[in-house]
Symmetry: C2
């Protein structure tokens, strides 16, 4: 793996530092960073998709909590956790679907509540920064482990189809779905990746194609609507995608178009894999029916790329995610191994180690 | 039906007239026309998709033959049909998949060869123009008849999903798939149309949404990748698309993404209909496997909308069409009624009236 790849999310400095994000809305034309010095700037960066990808959102939000120093300075030591909670609730409102956001913020909350009231503000903030750094480091390790878990699923010479971006830009490093591809390539397997462009925001064309190019993975960009054709031509022997939230039964919310791919993969007898760290599982939800689906602005469809592509006044429906029922998922690849078959029982078994 | 809708293809004047096309690449921002005064201009307009849609391409090419006056003036009367054949072959090279192009040009060839050598050049050209006008008038009537044939398939209050543009802009008038929708609405049925935007060239967003808006048909634009979600939510009770070529067994070439929609419709137990005039059938091809699929430039994907949306140097695969096997097609709606089940035998039965 090319360890020189730029990080989507990085903390610069110590307690009084700032959060540096790759502004992913500018890729692939420009690699530019946005420095966030307040929770408000992090909220905006998440909402505007300057940082996106379920694990990366969680990490960014955790660091966003570390930027609450000014707010914390206003209250007495014993009131710090409650004061921090308003920042946490605010950051949690940035996007509704990816559960890693709430998971990371909950870790920050628990860490804050464990700090003794005798601690100085500096010490309190050091604890927060330590927790955010742990979340980031653990995600990095999880992604590496997902790569190792999943690489055996890909045979030498095979074609792989992916959707949206589940790469290093969506995580601390390496990615989830792409980590499997990078690891298999590291192991000497020759792969060819078909990349769905992923309308409306083209994360596949803009981000995944860019990451694959950076790591010299042979790839071909296609329109989302060409995936079935590519499968029918026998070019693809596996589909791998990331996830934004996985319910207790394995139903998986991911970028709009994922559910269609799962159905198309089944129609062509191609295995359909989801790659995600355990932080993406939401065991409080029995099925995917309870996952809130973010609805985004019609303009993402009608006015993409700075040009009006539909008549003025046209109505558009723009759900950012869909839910793929567990029965269409061949396996879920986690940092603790492969969940197969995808059932509530197998998910409980794999995740229980984490809960302990 | 709003008979005031602008025509995609119109001949202006008499024998020395010109072909006026809506420049569909400029819609929906601007309704502008391009006047073609030579076969070369018609070839370019077809190749650049200023005029598109299988029936409309056929009509435009037929009129393109009528613009060969200068070429014909150079040869003796008995050499006119051979001279015209070079123009016909040239126009046939503009696009490879839609069979209506070759069908219309073949009608022009046959008409030319039937003109007696004693005819003046003016008379010869009048015969050509008459044939092109017949092709256009017949397509207009066919589209109307397709609308009447297919309207009973749509129940009051139902949702319909369509892909690309099979409307008035793709034909002489009314359209194929959209003619069914227009006719059902004329009959007082309340419909809601979901329009796939249809990447890479967005014929759904740019053209179909525009036509529906013009005719006051309630509609919602979606990304191609959201079609499965819309089906899963129960919003759609029929899918209707057009066709570029239909083989003898019913396998249907249409805009890339059609095959995926057929599979997704089947997975949701939603009927999938193809609407096309009999000129779209190519009975010389036993199955869809022999239909040539046009490959278009990578830039349509990587540089759409005048902006680079993928890294420089990325490889793209851009088939303009795919082939939907007959077994996924619930029925084909033609000007001579509904073909159901979609089998070689039923197709022969319906088309034999035409052959006679």
């Amino acid at each position: 793996l090319n360890l020189q790849a730029p990080l989507a999310v990085a903390w610069v400095g110590e307690v009084d530092g700032l959060l540096r994000l790759i502004d992913q809305t500018l890729l692939p034309q420009r690699l530019e960073y946005v420095d966030c010095s307040s929770p408000e700037m992090v909220w905006e960066a998440i909402r505007q998709l300057r940082v996106r990808g379920a694990p990366a959102i969680g990490i960014a939000a955790a660091y966003g909590v570390c930027l609450a120093g000014e707010t914390l300075a206003r209250v007495a030591p014993h009131a710090r956790p409650a004061q921090l909670q308003t920042v946490i609730d605010y950051l949690a409102s940035s996007r509704p679907t990816a559960v890693n956001l709430f998971w990371a913020l909950d870790r920050m909350r628990r860490r804050a509540s464990a700090v003794p009231a005798t601690a100085s503000l500096q010490q309190f903030r050091e604890q927060l920064l330590d927790e955010a750094r742990r979340i980031q480091a653990e995600d990095s390790q999880s992604c590496r482990a997902i790569g190792r878990s999943g690489a055996p699923l890909l045979a030498d010479g095979c074609g792989v189809l992916t959707h949206c971006n589940a790469g290093g830009l969506a995580t601390a490093e390496y990615g989830t779905a792409l980590s499997i591809i990078f690891t298999a390539q590291e192991q000497g397997k020759r792969l060819h990746v078909y990349v769905d462009e992923t309308r409306p925001l083209l994360q596949g064309a803009r981000l995944t194609a860019w990451e694959l190019q950076q790591r010299n993975v042979p790839s071909t960009l296609i329109c989302d609507s060409a995936a079935a054709q590519v499968m029918q031509e026998g070019r693809v022997s596996a589909v791998i995608v990331g996830a934004d939230r996985i319910a207790a039964n394995g139903d998986t919310a991911n970028k709009i178009g994922t559910y269609a791919l799962a159905l198309l993969a089944q129609a062509h007898s191609i295995p359909f894999y989801v790659a995600a760290p355990l932080s993406t599982f939401d065991l409080t939800l029995e099925t995917g029916a309870s996952i809130p689906i973010e609805q985004r602005a019609a303009e993402e469809i009608t006015c993409g790329f700075g040009r009006q592509t539909a008549p003025r006044g046209v109505e558009a429906y723009n759900p950012a995610f869909d839910v793929t029922p567990a029965r269409y998922i061949s396996a879920i690849v986690t940092e603790r191994g492969i969940i197969r078959p995808v059932t509530a029982q197998e998910i409980r078994r794999t995740s229980s180690a984490l809960q302990a």
